[in-house]
């Protein structure tokens, strides 16, 4: 009785430690463990015994491909769905992260959560630009871009359905404030003229965006004169002169935000303090890095939770499937295992070999799942409504970290699915097993 409950306790501990290790340990540590294991198998007597039994077990796989494929496909499904969903979150987040920089700061009105809910008057714009931490160009003008973002209804390519594009009005210094923005076709818009340049993703998504064409926004015609690339969120936007766009959208002379280029990244704290201590200003300051990261947080969070919930439920199904298959495999090998134990192999060796077999199958499943997700979804382009109530176009991104994450899940499922059948095999009385002969 005592022995039995002690054994139960040991099993629970093994499960907790095994799963905890698979989830908590970084990928490198897991790889290190795998190397240690390989050394143990290669160099010690017990290890070599274990290795040879594992190999002989695996060599019987073709005879029971049905059960093996349940383990592999079940886990491939879990990992495929997990990786694909996380790739969406990663791609979205990366798009926003690439937009920000530690050397640029965005100034909003106190209490505003995003540009759309912010408002700054002309005097504030001038005061912000006057701070000494703001970099200046050769003529001594501050590198500050007063901006408004408005959402406008335009027609999508393909479906012809209405979509919403963000139109950003930017100041004349924007090219120096955001030096990574490159004109890839046509030219810059001219301040004072109703001209628009389109981000490269917006150009793919919306109609009437080729250079030279005219697009109607808010009832007025605007001429498309160029296309720009930036490798960030701005690629989904249209850009034009801040004053004209403010007027066209009835904003008067007020803007929403001012983005400035700092003299160097370390100047941020001083800049923030200077603005906070100015009694004429009611503003809050963030680096654009922090601002754009916070803008993507909500969506990324939702997708990550969705991915985890869906994959967890699928994982329960996959564990049950793996348990069934491995119990059947153990039952089919009853005689073999009993014989091994009769000629002196220890129970631990048997447990290890069955566990190893399941985890290997699981890893294969995980790799297949990740591969399918990669083939179908890497660089898959999607569009959603972003924080400015307008389209954000981004690409799914499958990184090595995500694949590692998927493989961890597959190891955990394989471990759970193999452990109990392995224990049953090892604890079966040898005489019972041999009786089946």
């Amino acid at each position: 009785m005592l022995k039995k409950s002690l054994f139960g306790l040991a099993v629970v501990l093994a499960v907790v430690i095994g799963l905890g290790a698979a989830i908590v340990l970084p990928w490198v540590a897991l790889a290190g463990l795998a190397v240690l294991l390989a050394l143990w198998i290669g160099l010690t007597r017990l290890g070599r015994q274990t290795g040879s039994i594992t190999v002989s077990g695996i060599s019987t796989l073709p005879q029971r491909w049905g059960g093996a494929s349940v383990v592999v496909v079940g886990i491939a499904g879990v990992v495929g769905v997990l990786v694909a969903l996380l790739a969406m979150a990663t791609g979205y987040e990366a798009t926003f992260r690439a937009t920000g920089s530690e050397q640029r700061a965005i100034v909003l009105r106190t209490g505003a959560m995003s540009e759309t809910t912010s408002n700054l008057d002309q005097q504030s714009v001038l005061l912000i630009g006057d701070k000494p931490q703001v970099a200046r160009d050769a003529q001594g003008r501050p590198l500050a871009s007063p901006e408004v973002v408005v959402a406008a209804s335009v027609t999508k390519r393909g479906s012809g359905r209405p979509g919403t594009v963000a139109i950003r009005g930017v100041g004349p210094e924007v090219w120096a404030v955001r030096p990574r923005v490159k004109i890839i076709a046509g030219r810059r818009f001219q301040p004072g003229l109703r001209e628009i340049i389109v981000g490269k993703n917006a150009a793919l998504e919306f109609k009437h965006t080729s250079i030279g064409s005219t697009i109607k926004i808010n009832g007025q015609p605007w001429k498309i004169v160029g296309e720009f690339a930036h490798a960030g969120e701005h690629d989904s936007e249209f850009w034009g002169d801040v004053n004209l766009i403010g007027q066209a959208f009835h904003r008067g002379s007020s803007v929403q935000s001012v983005t400035v280029r700092l003299t160097h990244p370390q100047a941020f704290d001083a800049f923030k303090a200077a603005l906070a201590s100015d009694p004429r200003l009611k503003v809050q300051t963030q680096t654009t890095h922090a601002y754009y990261a916070s803008q993507s947080k909500g969506m990324t969070h939702v997708i990550t939770i969705l991915a985890t919930v869906v994959a967890s439920i699928m994982a329960i199904g996959a564990v049950a499937g793996a348990l069934n298959s491995m119990y059947a495999a153990v039952a089919a090998r009853t005689r073999e295992v009993a014989t091994l134990r009769a000629i002196g192999f220890r129970g631990g060796v048997v447990i290890f070999s069955i566990l190893a077999e399941t985890v290997l199958l699981a890893l294969a499943g995980g790799l297949i799942g990740a591969l399918i997700a990669w083939v179908l979804f890497h660089h898959f382009t999607a569009s959603t409504l972003g924080p400015n109530f307008s389209a954000v176009i981004f690409q799914f991104r499958i990184t090595p970290r995500l694949i590692g994450e998927g493989l961890k899940w597959s190891i955990a499922i394989g471990f759970l699915g193999g452990l109990f059948p392995a224990l049953r095999a090892a604890r079966m009385p040898v005489t019972d097993g041999l009786r089946e002969l």
């Binding site: 049905g66 059960g67 494929s69 349940v70 496909v73 079940g74 491939a76 499904g77 495929g80 769905v81 694909a84 969903l85 909003l108 009105r109 106190t110 209490g111 505003a112 959560m113 759309t116 809910t117 912010s118 408002n119 408005v150 959402a151 406008a152 209804s153 359905r161 209405p162 979509g163 919403t164 139109i167 926004i217 808010n218 009832g219 959208f249 009835h250 904003r251 008067g252 007020s254 009611k282 919930v309 869906v310 439920i313 699928m314 329960i316 199904g317 996959a318 049950a320 499937g321 348990l323 069934n324 298959s325 119990y327 059947a328 999607a382 569009s383 959603t384 409504l385 109530f389 389209a391």
Partner: protein, 384 residues
């Protein structure tokens, strides 16, 4: 039905395996139920009876510019429009940046267009005669512990007041409830208070709302409303509320792709998994099929028994999974309110789920069933 006991005996023969298989099936159908519920919540936004009788008029330009309130009189006079109103959105925060408050500034006639609100008569009277009064949704009031008669300061940097401040102080005149409950997470204020108070955008509304008698008149009435402002600087687009909701959901995400993608992966795995479990069960009973045949069972009868067992297992699992999904949805809706958009696990979801279960059961069972039915008696008995 004659075979019922045979089916049951087959299922309970290896309880452990059956339970594990049913757990897998239940997991698949739990996911099916939850995803169908989320999908249903998004696609049915505004697909209720009220929304089928409500038109929404938006600007063809930018929602940030909106439409002139002066259109209201003309819209009300359009034949077929039973009642009309207008709204402007209002967004701010209460006490801290982490406590958002969404609201709508509403014009006259609003509650004739939205009959799904319930307001106590006393609250309604207090709201009507008080300046800067708001009606708070029950959920929002509960979240921020607001009480009737309380003054609430809302910081709204996007709505600067004429005196330059961005803080609006409202008086809570009463609470409202609504169906669906998601609409209780807001405040409703007088549009005139917002418009008189704000520095910019005066005289502009985000949308006009019209109630019509019959859905089939929608296209014609919408055309008439849009004709009012054709070729002006504020052209409008009028559509059914349900159509607008569907369009917005489409812009947020191609939910269909995500949901069908996941379900595709899940059910492909499920067919393989349950097929394999049935195959095991059939294989280990090889002698028994032979015996059944010897005592007079036909091949078709054995085919039916195996298929029946497979379908029974799937249906049991599906029932467990769907019941679990229902429990989760009910639990989350009670606790979280509208944070997780979940529609109740509707009849349609049960019907679809069970139909899927039968289908998967047939597909998974067909190969083992054919094998059992075609197996020769002598071959089978040899293994005895």
């Amino acid at each position: 039905m004659r075979f019922a006991h045979l089916l049951w005996a087959g299922l309970t023969r290896r309880k452990g395996r059956s339970v594990l298989t049913i757990v897998s099936i239940a997991a698949a159908f739990l996911l099916f139920g939850l995803l169908a519920s989320v999908y249903g919540a998004f696609t049915s936004v505004g697909r209720n009876a009220a929304a089928a009788h409500r038109l929404v008029t938006l600007t063809r330009g930018s929602y940030m510019v909106g439409l002139p309130v002066g259109l209201y009189g003309k819209i009300r006079a359009v034949p077929g429009v039973r009642a009309a109103s207008y709204v402007s959105g209002f967004f701010g925060t209460y006490q801290s940046l982490q406590q958002p408050v969404g609201g709508e500034a509403i014009g006259p006639g609003y509650f004739r267009v939205f009959p799904q609100y319930t307001i106590a008569p006393a609250a309604w009277r207090a709201y009507r005669r008080t300046q800067m009064a708001v009606l708070a949704g029950r959920m929002m009031a509960k979240r921020y512990h607001w009480t009737v008669g309380e003054q609430i300061p809302i910081r709204a940097p996007g709505f600067v007041r004429r005196n330059g401040s961005a803080v609006w102080t409202f008086l809570i005149a009463g609470l409202y409830t609504s169906k669906p409950r998601g609409m209780e997470n807001a405040i409703l204020m007088h549009w005139s208070d917002l418009d008189l108070g704000r520095a910019a955008h005066r005289g502009r509304v985000d949308a006009f709302l019209e109630r019509i008698a019959h859905t089939r008149q929608a296209t014609e009435i919408a055309r008439r409303i849009d004709a009012l402002s054709a070729n002006s600087s504020h052209e409008t687009k009028t559509q059914l509320s349900s159509a607008l909701a569907a369009r917005t959901v489409r812009q947020v995400a191609d939910l269909g792709l995500i949901v069908y993608g996941i379900m595709g992966a899940v059910f492909f795995t499920l067919v393989l998994l349950s097929g394999n479990a049935i195959a095991y069960a059939v294989r280990e009973r090889t002698p028994e099929w032979a015996i059944l045949k010897t005592v007079g069972f036909t091949g078709e009868a054995i085919l039916a028994v195996v298929l029946g067992e497979s379908v029974l297992m799937l249906v049991l699992g599906a029932l467990c999974g769907l019941a679990l999904a229902r429990g989760v949805v009910v639990g989350l809706n009670l606790r979280q309110g509208p944070h997780v958009p979940l529609a109740p696990v509707a009849q349609l979801i049960w019907v679809q789920g069970l139909a899927l279960a039968v289908l998967v059961g047939l597909v998974a069972g067909v190969l083992p069933a054919v094998r059992a039915a075609h197996q020769s008696v002598t071959e089978g008995l040899r293994n005895l």
